[in-house]
């Protein structure tokens, strides 16, 4: 009788499978299960009470949740597009520099090196209406105003977006710069010989080559921004009057402050749709962009 042996590929993958199951799969299944319970952190026994889809029904009919959902989509769209445009501009300028480019690249990356919590505190101080740098600068220039940067709905979202963009534009800049380095020189030189203007070369050669890099950056950043928490929590805490409430500030308050982890997990599963939709969208765009420049397959 021959001994049955596990296939080698499975044995080789087994440590990874065990680790992934322990740190991803089991918590995922557990959190999915708990979203069907009234689980409260302070009352562990509630974990075993099954309430079916009650939490999901509560969320689907909750205008506050959907307002936070919509605000997150808006915030994501604005922040991502501005970061992309600014990152593209910075990358194009850095690419033109012929002396000290390495130093410049390091400087561009500085904001990425700060913890989001510190960035949040920094901009909370900068935008404080009473003692903040911006209002003090305005007042010293003769404007007798104290703009409520972190209170007014539009200004508060702008202030948070400003902090987020300040911190993360360099992600786009660095990835796009890598794309610029990878562009073959031949088509650009051929275009020059054919009499194309710099804008035409950029529009029809450089940009299509950069699009795969832009979409990779978009995919990574969309997941980052969709779970933006630290900066928002520090700067406004989602307020005032829910004017800057994003999905993660709402979920963290529900789960950790109110201790309603079952409800918070249900919110998490509904909001995952957002990340999935953005990821699918950008991957499709990425595939199309790669096809356009002959990189498919």
């Amino acid at each position: 009788m021959t001994r049955r042996r596990l296939p080698e590929w499975f044995l080789l993958l087994l440590p990874a499978i065990i680790v992934i199951a322990a740190v991803v799969l089991i918590p995922l299944i557990f959190s999915l299960y708990s979203s069907f319970t009234p689980y409260k952190l302070t009352r562990p026994s509630t974990l075993w009470k099954w309430v079916g889809t009650y939490n999901y029904e509560k969320i689907l009919t909750d205008a506050k949740f959907w307002a936070a959902f919509g605000r997150t989509v808006l915030f994501l769209t604005i922040a991502l597009n501005l970061e992309m445009l600014l990152g593209l501009g910075i990358a194009l300028m850095v690419n033109k520099v012929t002396w000290g480019q390495r130093t410049l690249r390091t400087i561009v990356m500085f904001p990425m090196m700060f913890s989001p919590i510190l960035v949040g505190f920094q901009f909370k101080f900068i935008f404080n209406d009473n003692i903040g740098l911006v209002n003090n600068a305005l007042q010293s220039m003769g404007f007798n105003v104290a703009l409520p940067w972190l209170v007014d709905g539009k200004l508060a979202l702008f202030s948070i977006a400003f902090a987020e963009i300040w911190m993360s534009t360099s992600v786009f800049a660095i990835l796009i710069l890598a794309g610029l380095f990878a562009i073959p020189r031949d088509p650009l030189e051929a275009a020059k010989v054919d009499g194309c203007t710099p804008f035409q070369s950029f529009r029809h050669i450089t940009l299509p080559f950069l699009m795969p890099f832009i979409y990779i950056a978009m995919t990574i950043r969309s997941l980052d921004v969709a779970r933006a928490y630290d900066i928002v929590q520090i700067m406004t805490g989602g307020g005032p009057a829910r004017r800057t409430e994003l999905l993660w500030t709402l979920m963290s308050r529900t789960g950790y402050v109110d201790a309603r982890m079952g409800l918070a997990n249900a919110m998490g599963y509904v909001s995952i749709i957002l990340s999935v939709v953005f990821t699918i969208y950008f991957f499709r765009k990425l595939t199309a962009a790669r096809a356009q420049i002959g990189m498919e397959g």
């Binding site: 009234p38 952190l41 302070t42 009352r43 562990p44 404080n128 209406d129 009473n130 003692i131 209002n135 007042q139 007798n144 105003v145 104290a146 703009l147 409520p148 940067w149 972190l150 209170v151 406004t236 805490g237 307020g239 005032p240 009057a241 829910r242 004017r243 409430e245 308050r253 950790y256 402050v257 109110d258 201790a259 309603r260 982890m261």
Partner: protein, 440 residues
């Protein structure tokens, strides 16, 4: 060093020496080889008390291992995670009267574990607020909080200002005794963006607590006997309208809706706020020239009254012992030591209000006999203010209700909703929470 400062240093040194001697002399038990793990509130103002732990260690032979030191809000989150994970075998936890009711089954009932005569030495109101469903969940620390009115004295010493005020409002300008007078004067004193009449905490539990005490001052209440929300009454609307009126008149900083305690304290200390309802811990800070531009110009008065009564939303810190603690006797000894008369004398010397009757008396007597009229004035105001103090409802859902209510209060203040709409929406959501929690 001035004569007065020299005297203070000598008195403080003598007190610390006496306290250390006393700690060694008291019978705190013998716990050789025992290690008590503790999760304590962190902050410079609390370090003096923690410095005394060495005395308890020397007296008992036990060791204290501080495994966490954070703000109460952070400790609260950590404790909830511990409860969920079942990792609650540490022994002593910092607690707060607002947080205590939510930790179901976490902490022991100290009745029976602490001598009845010891419990009787605390202010009965503090023991009442530390008791949930008949269980004494913590021993109150010398950190009792009730707010009184701090004001800039110079505003009441200017004859032109007084005359202009009388012409505009028809009554004499004096330190306000009612919330209506606070509103009038705050609007009168304001010169935004350089100077503001007053300010208030505008988010989280902070604004709900203020709103709560003003609802009661207006003759209403937050919840009824069945725990049903009733703050959307006419009294509640009058209370919220006060916040709205001040905001609309620009008598408070525009960012006040994002302020909590530190922002308020720093704001008054900057000398740009005329009237400030605030906690006892700030008294010394406000009158210290090194930390405050208002120093020397600070007056302290009992909190103003509403149209019906004078009130004070209050709370206090405390220390609790977990049910899962391996050596409860040692933990109870440590908690008793940290809240002892000696500990409270040492801690309240820094400006906080004690929770033991004898320490109150000692502090008031020392202030009256001493050469610090500001300390005497503020202690007298706090002693009076404490008479109107009440604790928040002892229910696990208190914190959650505040998370529902505060965005609605902000919506009214910022003009997104009318006062009635905001309160009705908040009451409806709190009502749903209370139904879900099984109160009715």
């Amino acid at each position: 060093m001035t004569k007065s400062n020299t005297l203070k240093v000598l008195l403080a040194s003598a007190a610390v020496f006496a306290v250390s001697e006393s700690a060694l002399a008291s019978d705190w038990g013998s716990f050789d080889g025992v290690t008590v793990e503790a999760k304590l509130i962190g902050g410079q103002q609390y370090e003096g008390l923690y410095g005394r732990i060495a005395d308890w260690e020397a007296a008992t032979g036990a060791k204290v291992e501080i495994i966490s030191k954070k703000s109460h809000f952070e400790i609260d989150k950590e404790i909830k995670s511990d409860m969920a994970a079942g990792t609650t075998s540490w022994c002593v936890g910092s607690n707060h009267s607002s947080f205590a009711p939510q930790y179901e089954g976490l902490y022991v009932d100290l009745n029976g574990l602490v001598a009845a005569e010891t419990i009787a030495e605390f202010v009965p109101g503090n023991i009442g607020a530390s008791t949930v469903d008949g269980n004494l969940l913590m021993l109150p620390r010398a950190q009792f909080d009730v707010s009184v009115l701090y004001y800039l004295k110079s505003n009441y010493e200017d004859a032109d200002k007084a005359a202009a005020f009388k012409t505009e409002y028809g009554y004499d300008l004096a330190v306000p005794d009612t919330w209506e007078q606070v509103k009038d004067q705050a609007i009168f004193f304001s010169d935004p963006p350089n100077f503001y009449g007053t300010q208030y905490a505008g988010k989280d539990e902070a604004i709900v607590g203020r709103f709560y005490e003003m609802v009661v001052a207006e003759g209403g209440n937050y919840l009824d006997a069945d725990k049903k929300p009733i703050f959307n009454s006419e009294a509640g609307q009058r209370a919220l309208q006060w916040f709205v009126d001040l905001y609309e008149a620009k008598a408070v900083p525009a960012g006040t809706t994002s302020y909590v305690w530190d922002d308020l304290g720093q704001g008054f200390a900057s000398g740009t706020v005329a009237l400030n309802l605030d906690w006892p811990g700030w008294a010394g800070f406000f009158n210290d020239p090194e930390s405050s531009k208002a120093a020397g110009n600070v007056g302290v008065a009992v909190q103003p009254m509403g149209s019906v009564t004078r009130t004070g939303w209050s709370g206090h810190h405390g220390f609790s012992v977990t049910n899962d603690c391996a050596n409860k006797e040692a933990a109870v000894s440590l908690v008793t030591f940290l809240t002892s008369e000696e500990s409270q004398l040492a801690e309240s010397a820094g400006g906080s209000l004690p929770t033991r009757s004898a320490v109150w008396k000692a502090n008031v007597a020392a202030a009256q006999a001493g050469d610090d009229p500001f300390r005497a004035e503020s202690l007298a105001a706090f002693a009076k203010g404490a008479e109107f103090a009440f604790a928040v409802p002892a229910i696990p859902e208190w914190g959650e209700t505040t998370n529902i209510v505060y965005p609605e209060l902000q919506a009214a203040i910022l003009g997104d909703k009318t006062v009635k709409e905001a309160l009705d929406d908040a009451a409806e959501a709190v009502d749903e929470l209370m139904r879900e929690s099984g109160y009715y």
